[in-house]
């Protein structure tokens, strides 16, 4: 069974600095998708960034980028120029395409931004 592990329950970063959130996963599939979601105190889950496993190029969305290491089954999220609005829970998620299109989430990392 697929699993997603986020080993950092909480992290803090100074405003304007860079922080990296780690995520590892376990799968025997070769084709899959990976996501990072953000959940601010409002509870609304928001997609931050996504990565297709067949793409070697790391996805980037403005200040957010990933370091995708397929062989190591690692999918870390880098936030550059951290802003107060980045404070939230961040969840890493895995999805296998097909009939059993279940999406597996990690337990999350709570990110604090220090002014």
């Amino acid at each position: 069974a697929q699993t997603v592990t986020q080993s950092q329950p909480e992290m803090s970063v100074q405003e304007a600095e860079t922080v990296t959130l780690s995520c590892t996963y376990d799968t025997s599939e070769s084709d899959y998708y990976l996501f990072w979601y953000k959940q601010p105190p409002s509870r609304q889950m928001i997609l931050v960034i996504r990565q297709e496993a067949y793409k070697q190029q790391n996805a980037t969305e403005n200040r957010f980028s990933v370091n995708f290491q397929k062989a190591a089954k690692s999918f870390s999220l880098k936030i550059s120029d951290s802003q107060l609005g980045d404070a939230a829970m961040y969840f890493c998620a895995y999805r296998t395409p097909g009939r059993d299109d279940k999406i597996i989430f990690g337990k999350g990392t709570r990110l604090h931004i220090l002014p």
Partner: protein, 116 residues
Amino acid sequence: GAGVSQSPSNKVTEKGKDVELRCDPISGHTALYWYRQRLGQGLEFLIYFQGNSAPDKSGLPSDRFSAERTGESVSTLTIQRTQQEDSAVYLCASSDPQGSSNSPLHFGNGTRLTVT
């Protein structure tokens, strides 16, 4: 409404009562998911609907939990004889997998259930 809508946003109930939680997915989204999120915890998969296929109920924690979905529209999650450990936020999400499986989930704001 363009987003996923859940109701009620908050529900307080007495132990032993039944509750029904509702989810209106984004129009046209064939996939619908229910997740449970206990305080400070991650998302626990409960059930997944895909079009008219049989739902994947593998995450339902006990037979007190059930969910229905009519076609590709509204879904209701029912918890019978609620227990205090059922207290959590119940999140619904929908997705359109027709184009690609990298289609993201669109989440509702959740229903916070408190069992007293």
